[in-house]
Symmetry: C2
Subunit: 409 residues, 2 copies
Amino acid sequence: MSDSANGSHLDPWVEAYASRTIGMRESEIRALFAVASRPEVVSLAGGMPFVEALSGEMMSKVTESVLNKHSNVAFQYGSGQGDPNLRESVLEVMKPTGLTAHPDDIVITAGSQMAINLICMVMINPGDVILVESPSYVGALGVFRMYEADVRHVAMDDDGLNPTALLETIAQVRKEGKKPKLLYTIPSYQNPAGLTQPPARRAELIAIAQRENILIIEDDAYALLGFDGMVNRPMAADEKERVVYCGSFSKIISSGLRTGWAVAPKALKSKLVLANESATLCPSNFTQLIVDEYLRTQDWQAQVALFRDLYQERRDALLSAMDELMPKGISWTVPKGGFYTWLTLPQGVDATAMLPKAVDALVAYVPGTGFFANGLGKENLRLSYCYPTPERIKEGIKRLASVLEAEIG
Amino acid sequence: MSDSANGSHLDPWVEAYASRTIGMRESEIRALFAVASRPEVVSLAGGMPFVEALSGEMMSKVTESVLNKHSNVAFQYGSGQGDPNLRESVLEVMKPTGLTAHPDDIVITAGSQMAINLICMVMINPGDVILVESPSYVGALGVFRMYEADVRHVAMDDDGLNPTALLETIAQVRKEGKKPKLLYTIPSYQNPAGLTQPPARRAELIAIAQRENILIIEDDAYALLGFDGMVNRPMAADEKERVVYCGSFSKIISSGLRTGWAVAPKALKSKLVLANESATLCPSNFTQLIVDEYLRTQDWQAQVALFRDLYQERRDALLSAMDELMPKGISWTVPKGGFYTWLTLPQGVDATAMLPKAVDALVAYVPGTGFFANGLGKENLRLSYCYPTPERIKEGIKRLASVLEAEIG
């Protein structure tokens, strides 16, 4: 990291930055990832969807059709809440999950990262307590840090976020004279842990949120990517007043379109629209109309099934390679959908320290510490199987297994 | 406005909102503008670029070419700083203004509104003083309110922001024990005042910023829309360490693509990239690649000239209609580019109270108060000539003139 990025005397504005930038720094592993992006490295690090499975030709046709019919709308500023037609189409995309809503409950955002950002803009004062899973999504933790939230990690078990641990954390927070404001959770195929909350677990968590008056941010970016046709009923389907649901087209169409949405309780929705307008005036009409036209004219369910089967095949390749090749003492989660598995290494093995050796051996992963706001995760790492082919995944695991063997031995 | 939008007891989260949402409310004139969008109303209100002058067919071809060559990049997540090729093309777009930079100095954002937002994210603590023109751009004032800044308006004269008034305001702020942190200015064809700072004025303002150690946000959204081929040298061309320059493709290509950029001093640039990642991970690769391909393969200068000539013709239609039809006692600015003129009504005529009558008479404008954070602007209004045809503009002014005559009489 350069001196100036650290905020040294070389930066003439170092005294002038907002307090929220104090924790803002480039990831230490960023430079390493630049190396890891070389083609000879098998990257099990990034969460890049395999967009190669989407047809460029088909999307050209969809764009042409939009511009034939509605170029004046596509090229113009739009509504801060998002295009009304796309908000209708979002209902169709949520239908398989059992989540119903009215188009007016929906706010379109420049990706669901933006939705998380807007929710914090509306809700979070510095020091406000946000409860998150342990580990949690690095992008959300970045937003929470930016809003100077007090982030508390809550333990997970095989069924995801643990209610007993949640109650303990809430009690601890209250003992400190504070009140938890938000619970951020990814109930399905959690990033990075790969775990999924069964229905009974979701009901327990909703009951706690109701009793404790906590707003849940339900991040459901992988909703339709459950393997073997599995679809989980979102919390938002059963509790509309205490859940903001965040959905994304990044994993079922294309992350490059930067289009996601939130379903929010009425009053909060109005504030999210104003926050959206303040942040960016409006989402892109151009990309919104393309997403809408795609959903209305193409077999999007078939495309989702294609992605899902592809990821399932890769998950299988990863798991069987790990079963075959991983040294003893390493455990991992078995994801039922999504992109990730979470590894726990033997005590004393530091995944961050090991990463340069792995990159030398031409394999990359994300060390666990990035998924914690509290310094934990040293003996963990995240593997993603979404992008490389099954053959490459197997090769990557072979390389990682030798690095681990050397490290353990 | 509904009870819940006001934050009444009907909203279960009313106690939980962040303090920054206190000033967040729907514009009182929003409902009226819904009425004003009927086709029989001549709207001189919105700042919608006349995107009908951009060819949908040509943009289809540009998109097809992008997706033929780079669909895997266009569909994927990208860099938080923005696409490297587009950052190079931005240099070409700035070249006519005399502003030079390195591609690494540039951050691509989801519109220049987002750039203003990110600058505040990095710089503004609640209570920090931001100096703005009097009047100033309503969208920027919204961001400043969101970051709970202490906004101080500084008088303008015919050459834009007045340096004497600026020094007085700075002295007043210092007397209160505070320090101005940012100066937000639109030096060319200001929104809403339509005024332009000549070179000598810019030099004076830069000298003040240097002496007082104030960072300038130079919003240059209308840079290339100067009439008679006028191009102004940006402040950022002469002072790189104290100016963040915000540029936009909204007015020279399409606002629906939501693509703008900032040119920032090195250390600040690094922080803007991190803020961009936190807010939205990355700008849309899809729209960025389309903008880049358009700039590289199409005659974008001819398109800019087309827009410019079209807006000049409309400006002329507006001015000559006002000269002919406006009752005595009303004055207006004569814009040398951009979209807007600013009217001052006779004392006692309230532009906000008059708006419903204007809409009844089938003409719309924006009342002046929205362009002030301090309640001023009652006797002002903004007219924009960017969207309606010259004939419609003349008809609109005829209608507005009768409303004003009745109001004055």
